[in-house]
Amino acid sequence: GHSKARNKTVVFDIDGGKVAQPYNFNNLVPGTTRSNGIHQAVFEPLFILNYETGGIDPWLGESFTSNSSLDVWTLKLKKGIKWSDGEDLDADDVVYTIQMLLDDSTQSLRDAASMQQWVKSVNKQDKHTVVFNLTEPNARFQLDYFSVKIYGGVIIIPEHVWKGQDPFTFKFYDKEKGWPLGSGAYTLKSASETEFIYDRNDNWWGVSQGLPLPAPERLIWAVTATEENRSMLAAKGELDSVMDVTLGAFEAMQARNDNMQAWFSELPFSWLDPCARQLSINTQAEPWDDPAMRWALNYIIDREEIVRVAYEGTTIPSMTLFVHYGGLFPYIDAVVAAGMGMRLNASPHIAQKIIESKGWTKGSDGFYQKGGKTLEFVIKTHEGFIEKRRITDVVVEQFLDAGIKAEHRPIAGATWDNDRYTGNFMGSMDWHSCGSINEPYASLNRFTAKYLKPVGTTSPGGNNYVRWDTAKSKEFTQIVDKMGAMPLNAPGMVDMVVDAYRLWYEELPFIPITQARKLIPFDTTYWTGWPTAENNYNHPATWWQSTHQIIHNLKPAK
């Protein structure tokens, strides 16, 4: 029997088409896929950031603490961790992994560049303790790289397998040898472009430590192609966990399968993704280099209409540039209380006044003109992201109504990135204030002047590619830099955020639009215990490495 009973199996879907490289599990090479189940079920993280509590749950790690000056961090591993081949997973593996990243002179291995930026040296203290000496203080060292803040983090690799391999070409795949090899409760049974099957490893290390084995005997990650297809499979009960779908698709599934559920049991159904959506504006391109003109755009944008039309009500408008997570509420509240909350609805008449005050007049075609030039605004989007395309479609209509000749241009991801990072754009619908989850620094930091690059050269890491470069931005940078050197959520941080935020708010280098939603349906026909707003042990992003938690929480229905 090649198939296991349906009620012992959990089927997850992988969207985005076939997995192009199914037989390469070298997660250090940037191109490889890891959300094909391998980092959800096999490669375990050290810690998992809990989006609901704002705290950090231990997984392989027991604790990760810093000295008071924030430049020496000590990792303690749990005891008794074993690789699935029975070898110990201990400080040696951690040191080996980090050292390999530090040794990569090309900095092209995943995480190599960030480790080299922050880590001066890494040392084993004892079998379960590793000490990291940082190049400079970093309050977010554990959070950013080892706690699945978003998607995943640094993955510890088995020294006894990797030793002597070329980390660039090693595929970490050999059925005979039992590769790929992880410490998780599952091992890979088979791989192909369209599906990955994992079977439970009953000798999982946790058992010896008194932890229960997860209930599912088999996990499958299957490529399900189109939205239509995916929805039909789910409606038929052939998928237990579906990645982000549209509201309509979810309703259709629910109409045919009573057991479909999502984060909320009613509108907006969705869980909020950490990357809120924003309209970025090139602050060096005329006429949008004028903050007043950017404000005019903001006055035209009707966020409620965007939520209603582009999202069919499945998300909420952004009040600030932050994502609406509990950990950020103190800052959001303070900013709003200071009168800097974004408006829900449009005030086109204010926009009109601003634009006209800048010498633009409406021509016979209904568009503003000045000196023979029409007021144009081109928004580039990533061709593959329907959600952003739909927001843009609505925004374009709003701009057109207000007399701005707006145009939407979805292009290939690589070109889109290149255009933005080199400043070859006017507007872009994206999510690049993304970063803060439980503290405000990460998002603000991305727009500081230290990342500024002239138009034509690439902005580092896509930071401050809007090229915000004014007196106020310098002031903003000073405040944010100060925040960076303080421990997480230190006292006084709220006031600093309000100060910095005011500088940003006045010049508005990008316009927050909506919160990003992820409508993630689960089927409770065979399995219960999926994360929901009520059973909120963590968030439901099943393509993240935090999915280990979900799998361990599943219970057979009946």
């Binding site: 900095q107 599906e195 038929k236 993304c434």
Partner: protein
């Protein structure tokens, strides 16, 4: 056989090489016309899921160096053509370090399999319907049915695929939704595996056939009308030949010749059309390879897969040229 000389074969092969070379050069140039590079795209994909990637410019530089993307264009071109000659399609940029040959090699058999089965079907059905449509003795209701069935021609392949999935997989439970063979089966030379492949391939093949056969029907009908007017058809009738014999041995036999030519010339287009259908079924063929490669601006994979398509068309035209005198005795190699 009309004197197939070595000289002719060589000359024909020369043309083949030249077309392949020219077409491959076009394929080399086009992706490089736009800004944006594959490494950046890779980073972009990482940031889609991970929020943002720190120090990505370092990664980009490192990889550009590794892949020689900083070399002058002519060096890259030389390397590319040199690689093609030794059938080395390079290493995927987006899926480093997998060789393109391996990626394509895994997908190609599935595509070719799907293509050949559906090709036989739509070519047969299309021409049969075209012949019946123009034949006097075809019952009227059959002609109506054939004409009606041609509406599929105007439906986009991917939509047709989804409608089929909705009907046969979702509503009637007859065929599977996606995939190429049953979950958990290991590819092997067993009956079980093969029947599974056929079972899973039915809907994809059906989609391709449905949206394609109409073109052949239309073409065949036109050719049949032309041939019907030929003197030899009247003479065949005067010989008192049986109507059906006259139909297939006289009319169809001659009408199908231009269809065969057209088949060779359009094979690449048809395969390209199949891409969308494959994508709809998450089929293991070249379809999703190409679609993904394009999304990631993976030059080498785009070039590699396009090169395969170019080879398929050029080879089929070459084969056609070499065997055409067998199909049409009037053509000799010396005339062109």
């Amino acid at each position: 056989m009309g004197g197939l000389t070595l000289q002719y074969a060589l000359r024909r092969f020369g043309i083949f090489l030249m077309t392949v070379w020219l077409a491959s050069s076009v394929i080399f140039i086009i992706p490089r016309l736009a800004p944006g590079d594959p490494i950046q795209s890779m980073i972009s994909r990482m940031s889609e899921s991970a929020g943002y990637v720190e120090n990505s410019e370092k990664i980009v530089e490192g990889f550009k160096e590794r892949f020689g993307l900083n070399d002058p264009m002519y060096v890259q071109y030389g390397r590319y053509i040199g690689g093609l000659v030794s059938l080395d399609l390079g290493v995927s940029l987006a899926m480093f370090p997998t060789p393109v040959k391996e990626i394509v090699g895994r997908a190609l058999p599935w595509s070719i399999g799907l293509m050949s089965i559906s090709l036989v079907l739509y070519f047969f059905i299309g021409n049969l319907f075209g012949a019946l449509l123009s034949w006097k003795k075809t019952p009227f209701f059959a002609k109506i049915a054939i004409s009606a069935s041609m509406i599929f021609t105007s439906i986009p392949g991917i939509l047709c695929a989804l409608i089929l999935i909705y009907l046969f997989a979702f509503n009637f439970d007859i065929f599977p939704f996606t995939g190429s063979y049953e979950r958990g089966l290991e590819p092997a030379w067993t009956i079980e595996f093969f029947s599974s492949v056929i079972y899973y391939g039915t809907l994809p093949a059906l989609s391709v056939v449905l949206v394609t056969f109409g073109f052949w029907t239309i073409g065949m009908r036109g050719m049949m009308v032309t041939v019907e007017g030929e003197d030899y058809m009247t003479f065949g009738q005067a010989k008192g030949l049986k109507p059906f014999y006259l139909l297939y041995r006289y009319q169809v036999r001659n009408a199908i010749l231009p269809q065969i030519t057209a088949l060779a010339f359009t094979i690449g287009t048809i395969v390209a059309g199949q891409i969308l259908v494959e994508a709809a079924f998450a089929y293991r063929g070249m379809g999703s390879v190409i679609v993904n490669a394009i999304k990631d601006v993976d030059y080498t994979v785009i070039q590699g897969t396009s090169f395969i398509l170019i080879l398929i068309t050029a080879t089929s035209v070459l084969i056609l040229d070499l065997i055409y005198p067998l199909i049409d005795p009037r053509i000799t190699f010396q005339k062109n």
